[in-house]
């Protein structure tokens, strides 16, 4: 699979950065893009417009179904980053007269952290909670940080680098006990863990298309209707999405995300154990040959597809670049260009050196046991080569 320019086949173990589009999704998208397809503007009154509108609404129901939301509670965006921005800035700015304190964690995605940074420049106060050694944000830590003027708490469901799963249902209870709103970045958990916005009592949830075998450039924000959560829009002009997010709707993208979420709902129960088995296989192979390898994140409370490992005593970038033919990452893709060690691993207490010598493996729907085995072989070989060099030097 993939875009190899070498003789060796590429092994893609970077599903947390982005997933391949499922062929069924690509097919539905292509249907929208032909001249006789659903090319109308969903805001237009004529036949092509109405046909496009119907497809958009079907997809909205498919996305809503995965998280047990009502269709009108799903707002289309250009991606989870925009969803995070809309949720956090939108709620903070709308409720700013109620209070100006926000709670989040140090290991949120940049889409949340940079957004909170902007709000700080606008006069909001943000508390960045430190996770425990396993990368969890404990409800007790939230309780301790909540204040009378706290308007919003934003905590991710699954961490994108280490895969740790936060107990968002309990966090929701403590947040609501103090009358604050609760936003969850579920970009890494939707389609990988069950989410029930009603049972978990969530106010806003950010969703991504391209992390769930859908297209890039489409996402959604769940915005609770009962009781209603109000937001100040980021984008004005045209009153699309009941005024919460203006802009012509990209039918093919929306249909693609809808189909991706439909498939995710159908396959969730069987995919979780499959991915967990692949992850355990990889960890077992690595640990057998590299006893010094350290697992990052909670050993049990974590998502099936992500394995983050530190390799003491070697240089991380050398390891990453040495693993030719293996697509993994040393942190989140969005931080890839910076050579800084992962801020997530730093927050867990790993020192710079160890944080730098870490790899995130993320597996998905199309990963095979043979690929996992080959990946382990590549990493082990490269580790041993670097270790020998270090000893020789």
């Amino acid at each position: 699979m993939g875009v190899s320019r070498h003789n060796t086949p590429d092994i893609y173990l970077d599903y947390a950065a982005t997933t391949p589009v499922d062929p069924r999704v690509a097919e539905r998208m292509a249907e929208c893009l032909t001249q006789d397809g659903l090319f109308g503007n969903p805001s237009s009154m004529h036949g092509p417009g109405r046909a496009a509108r119907a497809a958009v609404e079907k997809a909205r129901a498919q996305v809503a179904a995965l998280i047990n939301a009502g269709s009108p509670e799903i707002v289309w965006t250009s991606g989870a980053t925009e969803s995070d921005n809309l949720a956090i800035k939108g709620a903070a700015r709308f409720y700013k007269d109620k209070g100006r304190h926000i709670i989040t964690s140090r290991i949120e995605h940049k889409a949340v952290l940079d957004t909170c940074g902007q709000l700080e420049r606008e006069g909001f106060e943000v508390t960045y909670l430190k996770p425990d050694r396993d990368g969890l944000i404990k409800p007790d830590a939230i309780v301790a940080a909540l204040r009378d003027d706290t308007v919003l708490v934003s905590i991710m469901h699954v961490n994108n680098e280490i895969g740790t799963v936060n107990d968002i249902a309990t966090i929701s209870q403590v947040v609501h006990a103090r009358n604050a709103l609760f936003h969850v970045d579920a970009a890494q958990s939707a389609g990988k863990l069950p989410i029930d916005v009603k049972a978990m009592d969530l106010d806003m949830v950010s969703l991504s298309g391209h992390k769930v075998y859908g297209p890039k450039g489409i996402g959604a924000l769940y915005v609770r209707r009962q009781p209603r959560v109000n937001l100040q829009p980021l984008l004005h002009g045209g009153h699309h999405e009941t005024g919460l997010r203006s802009g012509t709707l990209a039918t093919h993208q929306i249909v693609g995300m809808g189909e991706a979420y439909r498939i995710a709902r159908e396959q969730l129960a069987e995919e979780i154990p499959q991915l967990a088995a692949l992850r355990e296989q990889l960890w077992r192979l690595l640990k057998e040959s590299i006893p010094a390898a350290l697992l990052n994140g909670h050993p049990l409370q974590r998502v099936a597809g992500i394995l983050n490992v530190s390799f003491p005593g070697i240089e991380g970038e050398s390891l990453l670049f040495g693993c030719s033919g293996l697509a993994v990452s040393s942190g989140s893709a969005c931080s890839a260009a910076s050579a800084e060690p992962s801020y997530v691993l730093r927050a867990l207490g790993r020192d710079d050196e160890l944080a730098g010598a870490s790899l995130r493996f993320s597996m998905g729907r199309f990963t095979t046991p043979a690929e996992v085995e080959a990946a382990a072989r590549i990493v082990i070989g490269e580790y041993q080569r670097l270790k020998a060099l270090a000893l020789a030097g």
């Binding site: 950065a17 417009g49 980053t81 995070d84 004005h236 260009a337």
Partner: protein, 380 residues
């Protein structure tokens, strides 16, 4: 029979654009921010598209900021500029699309002084009025290059000179102009320009803000550092590749597309002369080669739209974003027309996929509709 005559609302995707997008819509495609092979291939495709879009409007690739669409790009232009400078005055024309008008309204709520530049009866901005409104507090002027409803083109040279004399920036929404006429960013003298892919036979969900190198923008969407820190979020790779291809095609084919569109427009406008009670708005102004906004005396525009829809023809009563609202066109109101006349508007916008036979069918249908209810005042 299905005839699509609403290309200013959205255009069908060019099959060649779809071919360019398909490899990026399926299989394992990297995140352009990833450093591995998949990521680097994605990044290279992104940068090719950036050069293609830049070339269409004659700028350097680094001046292109990809967004989630034209609306976002317009929001980024207005809010991004205004949020980065002390509050002052913002000038927008009275005929802007909602995607400029409403961000301006939002800025007004935050304390910005927003003034509207009036237009004449032909929809052309009143340059003298603009000069009078432009003062030393003016930070930004936003005037669309071509109007989405009437197709009227604005002359920006004098405006640019006066804006810059007051140290204000000039933004133009070129969404409707790009792909239908030559658009040269520097020749226009603008500082910011909005483009949209789906108005030039590219995909929906992708647009761009073109910025001069000296413009400072506060991002609307934070997080991730993409687009030189000016627009966070994983890039819509297939969409951007499609935008690039559509830009490349339109640049290569503009010379043949313009006369093709003009011929359709002329055929339609000549045919309308035989139909009593139909007027062409802004007929004396320079207009886009594909756009004709008509007023059908005695009819509500939306009624005509639905009647044409029954006959398999897709047109609109104004901007798609306002369809169904029942409000009279703010563009025609700004041109001095009363509510009744403004409500009678029907916009026909041709595309390169239309044929002379489509125009004949439209004329026939309009004859049929207007003659079936002579003198009827549908909404009165």
């Amino acid at each position: 029979m299905n005839i699509y005559l609403d290309h200013n609302a959205t255009t069908p995707l060019d099959p060649r654009v779809l071919d360019a997008m398909l490899p990026w819509m399926q299989g394992a495609q990297g995140n352009p921010s990833s450093v591995h092979r998949f990521g680097r291939a994605a990044h290279a495709a992104l940068e090719t598209a950036r050069r293609q879009v830049a070339s269409l409007v004659n700028v350097e690739a680094s001046q292109v900021i990809f967004t989630g669409g034209g609306t976002e790009a317009n929001n980024l232009a207005l809010k991004g500029v205004c949020h980065g400078v002390p509050q002052g005055r913002l000038l927008v024309s009275a005929v802007e699309h909602a995607a400029v008008q409403e961000p301006a309204d939002a800025l007004a709520e935050q304390g910005w002084q927003v003034a509207h530049i009036p237009v004449d009866a032909m929809g052309r901005i009143d340059t003298d009025a603009m000069i009078a409104l432009c003062n030393r507090d003016t930070r930004l002027v936003s005037i669309m290059l071509a109007n989405n409803e009437t197709g009227v083109l604005q002359e920006l040279a004098a405006v640019a000179e006066h804006a810059h004399a007051h140290a204000a920036l000039l933004h133009t929404d070129a969404i409707q102009a790009a792909g239908k006429m030559p658009v040269d960013f520097s020749a226009l003298g603008v500082d910011l320009m909005t483009l949209s892919a789906h108005k030039l036979n590219g995909p929906r969900g992708v647009g761009a803000l073109i910025v001069s190198k000296t413009v400072t923008l506060l991002p609307l969407i934070h997080g991730g550092g993409q687009e030189q820190g000016r627009r966070g979020g994983t890039e819509n790779l297939a969409g951007i590749v499609g935008f690039g291809k559509a830009a490349e095609l339109v640049q290569a084919e503009l010379k043949t597309r313009i006369p093709q569109l003009l011929a359709l427009r002329e055929q339609f406008e000549n045919g309308l002369q035989a139909l009593p009670g139909i007027r062409i708005f802004a007929d004396a102004a320079m207009r886009l080669p594909n756009t004709v906004q008509i007023g059908v005396t005695g009819f509500d525009g939306e009624t005509v739209v639905m009647e044409l829809d029954k006959r398999g023809m897709a047109v609109s009563s104004g901007s798609a974003c306002h369809s169904g609202s029942g409000k009279p066109s703010h563009v025609l109101k700004a041109m001095g027309f009363d509510d009744v006349t403004a409500r009678s508007a029907v916009r026909v916008s041709f595309g390169v996929d239309n044929t002379p036979a489509d125009v004949s069918a439209l004329l026939e249908a309009l004859t049929d509709i207007t003659q079936s209810r002579p003198g009827a005042v549908a909404w009165a």
